[in-house]
């Protein structure tokens, strides 16, 4: 108990002292997670929308496949991407291994199914009358799709937030594909794992607190936005 309180107090002091190492780790984490969430959203939102909106053969199977991918362990994704980008493999010449780009690729694979499935759920919940109303008022397919997207925006924002929360908290992909290089690919979670191994809890606890505060802040902004628009 004493260890926890001592670590906690020292961690708080470390955060408020704006320690350069802490700041560097947080910046790398935010950058990598932000980019992977952005790319996953750019692909996952239209994909989820199309699956929810269109009727086609094999739709159910596709949704089952996406749902299955939700439970993919990060180490499996790490291993899979590694087999493509390691020095001797197909994309080895691109020199991606142990770079932030490698982490981004792995994280996109991790959260693309999350964004897609949550978008499917958000779009499917939208009342059919919105589509019918937009159409009868003369909207074309694109305009009708925009109406549905707009009505589902909170579910869609929630999908993006969930994706960001998943990537910023993952450790397997960052460790396997990033290599935990100080100042380059060391993220909050890989740094925490390393500090734990070393038996140095102060930095690990400080990063843990920052992770929790980040997650809380994003959710707070989302709920504030939801409240302001009155729904």
């Amino acid at each position: 108990m004493e260890l926890l309180t001592d670590s906690f107090l020292s961690a708080i002091l470390l955060i408020f002292s704006l320690d350069p190492e802490v700041l560097s780790i947080v910046c790398v984490s935010l950058k990598v997670s932000g980019i992977s969430t952005l790319f996953a959203s750019l692909m996952g939102l239209p994909l989820g929308f199309l699956i929810a909106y269109a009727s086609f053969k094999g739709k159910r199977i596709l949704i089952i496949c996406l749902n299955t991918m939700l439970s993919l362990p990060t180490v499996v994704i790490g291993l899979f991407v590694y087999s493509f980008i390691s020095r001797r493999s197909i994309l080895g010449s691109l020199d991606l291994l142990y770079t932030q780009k490698a982490i981004v690729i792995g994280q996109i694979i991790l959260v693309l199914p999350i964004v897609a499935t949550l978008t499917i759920a958000a779009i499917s919940r939208i009342d059919e009358r919105y589509r019918k109303t937009a159409m009868t008022l003369g909207a074309n397919r694109r305009q009708t799709a925009c109406v549905i997207f707009r009505e589902a925006r909170f579910g869609i924002v929630a999908a993006v937030i969930a994706a960001f929360g998943r990537v910023i908290a993952e450790v397997g992909i960052s460790m396997m594909l990033g290599g935990n290089a100080r100042g380059f690919t060391r993220t909050m979670t890989t740094a925490m794992a390393l500090e734990y191994d070393k038996g140095e809890f102060i930095l690990a606890v400080a990063l843990g607190i920052i992770l929790l505060v980040l997650s809380f802040s994003i959710n707070l902004i989302f709920h504030f936005f939801q409240g302001r628009t009155g729904t």
Binding site: Y130, K132, T133, L137, G138, R141, Q143, V147, G230, T231
Partner: protein, 226 residues
């Protein structure tokens, strides 16, 4: 004739919900569509509103056969607007809702503003122009939905039970507006209803639909009762 429906049928699986050998609708008239629940009234309105294709048969609109292809239907839908039994308003203000159809038709902002004010005034909702749509009551929602439809100056207005679940005051407001727009703008109106008095006070013609078929005997009986 504005519409001619020839040998129209609509099936859902093996169940036939609509089977009409011939139906003619004249321009500028008000038609009432009567029938019990599940008679096929909404399906018929969906077909007339080009929102649903019949399984078989032909629909002629302005003497031209309608091809139920998405690219072709979009232009027709800009002339025919349907108001749902329980209309839904888009998230945002009443202004934004009425503006929707005008905006997608490329009408200028200045002109949009004038039309929106006029139509909201017509349905007695001008005081609610900046109100959030989701805060409106059932009657107010119905009136805004009517304004949203009228703003785009349709040639045909299809109303699925326009005054169901409304209080007497809102019912009267809706009925008066429908009468007024038919007289002034010569908009063809077809509405479904369960209220006999609405038919006698509003409709020029009445169709009776039972189990997907137009029933003349019922209609005759209804006329005699009137």
């Amino acid at each position: 004739m504005l519409y001619v429906l020839s040998k129209i049928s609509r099936k859902y699986g093996s169940r036939t919900v609509l089977d009409i050998p011939l139906m003619e609708i004249e321009k500028g008239k008000i038609y009432a569509l009567l029938g019990p629940n599940g008679a096929g009234k909404t399906t018929l309105l969906n077909i007339l509103g080009f929102l649903e294709a019949p399984t078989a048969g032909d629909v002629f609109y302005h003497s031209t056969r309608v091809s139920f292809f998405e690219s072709y239907l979009q232009n027709l839908r800009r002339e025919v607007v349907m108001i749902d039994q329980h209309p839904i308003l888009f998230t945002g203000t009443v202004y934004k809702n009425v503006e929707f159809g005008l905006k997608i038709r490329g009408i200028s902002q200045k002109k949009r503003g004038i039309i929106i004010e006029e139509t909201l005034d017509l349905v007695g909702m001008s005081n609610f122009i900046q109100a959030q749509a989701h805060r409106l009551s059932g009657g107010e929602t119905q009136r805004v939905a009517l304004a949203r439809a009228l703003a785009v100056s349709p040639e045909v207005l299809l109303c699925d039970e326009p005054s169901s679940n409304l209080d007497v005051e809102n019912q009267a407001a809706i009925i008066n507006t429908l009468k007024q727009i038919n007289e002034q703008r010569k908009i063809t109106i077809m509405f479904t209803t369960h209220y006999i008095y609405q038919i006698s006070s509003l409709a020029h013609h009445t169709f009776f639909l039972d189990q997907g078929k137009l029933t003349t005997a019922q209609a005759e009986r209804f006329k005699l009762r009137q």
